[in-house]
Symmetry: C2
Subunit: 231 residues, 2 copies
DNA sequence: CCAACGCTTCGGCTATTGTCGAAATATGAA
DNA sequence: TTCATATTTCGACAATAGCCGAAGCGTTGG
């Protein structure tokens, strides 16, 4: 009756504050160096080193060496998905870190959730796509419509067919912890955020570990034109 | 940059062996008493009591008092989903509890994953439904076809329309940790397993905390007739 | 070549948390 | 009413794991 995977080992890896801070920093989807992760976690480099070794042994992160630098990233989107789920449980249980600083509203407005847009704007985008019948959502199933494919091609020069990926869905509903509603994940969600960046509508906060997405004035206008409030 | 949910708190709750054993035991979808959970976790009742208080404070479980008995269950399917995800990560990282006893093959053959069928038979069922075009799966998106609705009504007396649920999808692909492929979750997956039980094709192992599903001889035949190997 | 920097390894310390014995309270059955 | 059982609470103990200083190794740039 105790057969099966031992979730305690994995969860204990995430359950340490220093390690969870590192994993959260990696939810930006960026690779960060050991030093940057040490800073994010608020520990010394030697402490971070031993933590990272554990995360790597547990297959939660993987590393790539560049000269003297060690870059770490999440092993794959499955890890990010579990971390998202944990974020939802933590938010629901009220385990929020109270930092009502200037960054908090920005984080709620628009932020990266691994590789796709989240926050107020992320939720608004999915809502708008549903109202425009670009996607169909039944509960947590999201499907791109033919009209949606044309929209993506015409307005954003994104080809849905090119987003095929053996292990990730095109569309996935991701529960937004700040809005408590869904935003769009999957390869399409990632492609859209990438396109926003290419078009210079939005850019990521440059601070390592920051998840904030800053839209330009023009970007906000373009975003509103495509995904604004629709009756 | 440390704003947002504090996943360390939730993960640390899962990361203790005694507590993770309890949560795993509750993945059967059944409510268990504090004593039964203490037994599953291999600790004394007083230790279990303090653990359960923590899990309840963390909103991972909820309790219902019946006389002298306290029944605990997982708070909701979101908790189960995160635990499933952790199981997948643990299995991938090779954190398997080596108990190659008589129960292990049974667990791999057919078991409950919260409320739907998993294991070899669970994976086979989804495969067959795909080959018979009862469902369409593109990566992790699963959609019931019109033919599938008729099949469910005719063969199992299950009405897909009656499975509507505000917070759960009809179909969800759940990665099976023993088969490393998908089985069917969601309200439909749950309804199918329930129907097998009603039809007396299958029954759950009566031991508290056991996830094994035992098919009868007749049940195996009926299951094979509906979901057997199809070319 | 030398100095600076990134990262790892080693060893010792300490705080935290899980554990159980003991005791108390509530419920159910005879 | 009494006894058995389920569960909770309290207090003490011990083991573990995270922490950092010190030292070492590898890489980079001047």
């Amino acid at each position: 009756m105790k057969a099966g995977p031992d979730i305690a080992i994995v969860a204990a890896l995430v359950g340490d504050p220093a390690r969870s801070n590192m994993l959260t920093a990696l939810m930006t989807g960026r690779a960060l160096t050991a030093s940057e992760l040490a800073y994010q976690a608020g520990v010394t480099p030697q402490t971070a080193s031993s933590h990272l070794a554990k995360l790597e042994a547990g297959r939660l992160v993987e590393q790539e060496k560049q000269g003297r630098h060690r870059y770490y990233r999440l092993s794959d989107p499955d890890v990010a998905a579990v971390l998202e789920g944990l974020e939802g449980l933590a938010a629901r249980a009220g385990h929020m870190r109270v930092r009502t600083g200037p960054k908090d509203p920005a984080l709620r407005h628009a932020r990266v959730c691994y590789d796709h847009l989240a926050g107020d704007l992320g939720v608004q985008m999915l809502d708008s796509m549903k109202k425009q019948r670009l996607v169909r959502q039944r509960k947590q199933d999201i499907e791109l419509t033919a009209e949606g494919e044309r929209f993506l091609t015409d307005s954003l020069q994104i080809s849905a067919d090119a987003l095929s990926h053996p292990r990730r869905p095109l569309c996935r509903a991701c529960l937004d912890w700040s809005e408590r509603r869904h935003h769009l994940a999957g390869t399409l969600g990632a492609a859209i955020l990438t396109r926003f960046t290419e078009l210079k509508w939005a850019m990521r906060d440059a601070a390592p570990g920051s998840r904030v997405v800053n839209f330009t004035r023009n970007g906000e206008k373009r975003f509103a034109a495509l995904f604004g409030e629709i009756e």
